[in-house]
């Protein structure tokens, strides 16, 4: 999409032009550079960027070179907001060198992660000179890069705060306090969803959800009154129920989303047809 086309759409934000690898692109002022690149299909490797959380810049993989006030500097594109006339180079020699080293480090830090292996290979890195960290007791299967997304999703998005960083330096891991089943865990699975390396393991067994990576925390699942299947963690359902209007509460409390849809549709049809079939 060209700058003009975007302008004609009449968005409220001020439009700016940025140059990425010599080509000009339109963007909203203060848009995150990485998301501009993603939209324009310009490849920048990244692991810890999550649109629903504030930019944090933990993994350092999304480094690019920008020219600002005539000076070149390396920045993380997920924490850089675009300004008019910004010049960006995503694959200069310095960036490439930096990235390769990082990939080597990540291959050693999370040697079992297929995501990282595939990503590194795309950038030509298939081996690491660093000692691979293999711990057979690691609850995250030697896939965690300690980006903190799961911790932040649990805290900032869900307000549960069930998991956190434990220990320091090379001993750092993510887990529950005292490595015991968490009382704060809602079983929502946000951690599973945001983890860029698919490290977090969870499994539903009948009427229970087991957060395997988080000290095998077990949360009970709620059963649908209509179809009988177990569909969501009870604690999560309770948190959500507390936020909805009373008139909707009953349907939501009793049924799974699918049955709920059917139930509401049925009600409306009945109302419209006056109860006649």
């Amino acid at each position: 999409m060209t700058h003009e086309e975007v302008s004609s759409m009449g968005t409220a934000a001020k439009l700016v032009t940025v140059t990425i690898n010599g080509k000009k692109y339109g963007a909203d002022e203060d848009e995150i550079l990485l998301s501009v690149a993603v939209r324009e299909k310009i490849a920048i490797p990244h692991l810890c960027y999550e649109a629903s959380l504030d930019p944090y810049g933990a993994c350092r993989l999304c480094m690019v070179e920008v020219v600002r006030h005539g000076k070149r500097e390396m920045v993380t594109s997920c924490t850089t907001r675009v300004t008019d006339g910004l010049e960006v180079v995503t694959d200069g020699p310095e960036v490439v060198k930096h990235r390769s080293i990082l990939f080597e480090l990540y291959l050693a830090e999370a040697p079992k992660s297929e995501v990282i292996k595939a990503m590194a290979a795309r950038y030509g890195v298939t081996k690491t000179r660093f000692l691979k960290k293999i711990d057979t007791t690691d609850s995250l299967g030697n896939k965690c890069i300690l980006c903190g997304l799961c911790v932040r999703a649990c805290n900032e998005l869900m307000g549960a705060g069930a998991i956190g960083f434990v220990n320091r330096g090379p001993y750092t891991v993510v887990n529950t306090p005292y490595f015991e089943a968490s009382r704060d865990c809602l079983g929502c699975g946000a951690c599973v969803k945001v983890c860029p390396t698919n490290a977090v393991e969870m499994e539903d067994q009948k009427n229970e959800r087991i957060m395997k990576s988080w000290s095998n925390t077990r949360v009970p699942l709620a059963q649908c009154d209509c179809c009988g299947r177990y569909y969501a963690p009870k604690a999560l359902a309770a948190t959500i129920l507390a936020r909805v209007t009373p008139s909707l509460k009953e349907e939501i409390a009793r049924c799974c989303p699918e049955c709920r849809g059917k139930l509401i549709a049925k009600k409306e049809i009945l109302a419209k047809t006056g109860g006649a079939r």
Binding site: G161, T176, P177
Partner: protein, 164 residues
């Protein structure tokens, strides 16, 4: 730690900055470690997730989650002390106290004797490198330590050689 004492400590920390560390520091000083129940009550009182408090407690070497002995011996393993033979000091202390160091899960080094009289810990640089190798017993600093002068130092704290 009883709740009243904890409340008094909490009341001393109004400002959010440094609050958690301040309160946890006082608990550590009074109890010699951070008891689990105290951390759990603190989490409820301050409305801070237990995971965050536990993170702090395991991050800083100053905090201990296990009860420590009557006297805490901290051996400096900083660069200067290391070069000046801190490893020998540590080995000698282990031998004197009859304990064996092993790599712990959390990377913290802290072992307590069976009779709970002494706890042996390590730290990085006390800032007293000119007297390396250095050790500290309950807040008292001892420089120019040698395996030979250790028995004299520990004797001040009630250490006796057990013949076995």
């Amino acid at each position: 730690m009883d709740e009243k004492t904890l409340d008094i400590i909490i009341s001393r920390y109004e400002a959010p900055a440094g609050r958690l560390l301040g309160i946890m520091g006082e608990i550590q000083n009074q109890e010699g470690y951070i008891p689990r129940e105290t951390l759990e009550i603190l989490s409820v009182k301050l409305e801070v997730p237990l995971s965050q408090l536990y993170g702090l407690a395991t991050f800083y070497s100053f905090f201990s989650l296990k009860p420590v002995g009557d006297h805490v011996i901290t051996v400096c393993m900083g660069t200067a002390c290391h070069v000046k033979g801190a490893v020998k000091i540590l080995k000698a202390l282990e031998e004197m106290l009859g304990i064996k160091s092993e790599a712990s899960e959390d990377g913290k080094f802290s072992i307590t004797t069976e009779d709970k009289k002494f706890t042996l810990e390590i730290a990085r640089c006390f800032g007293a490198c000119s007297m390396a190798p250095v050790l500290r017993v309950d807040g008292n600093l001892y420089g120019y330590a040698t395996p030979e002068n250790l028995p004299g130092i520990l004797a001040e704290y009630g250490w006796e050689r057990h013949e076995n």
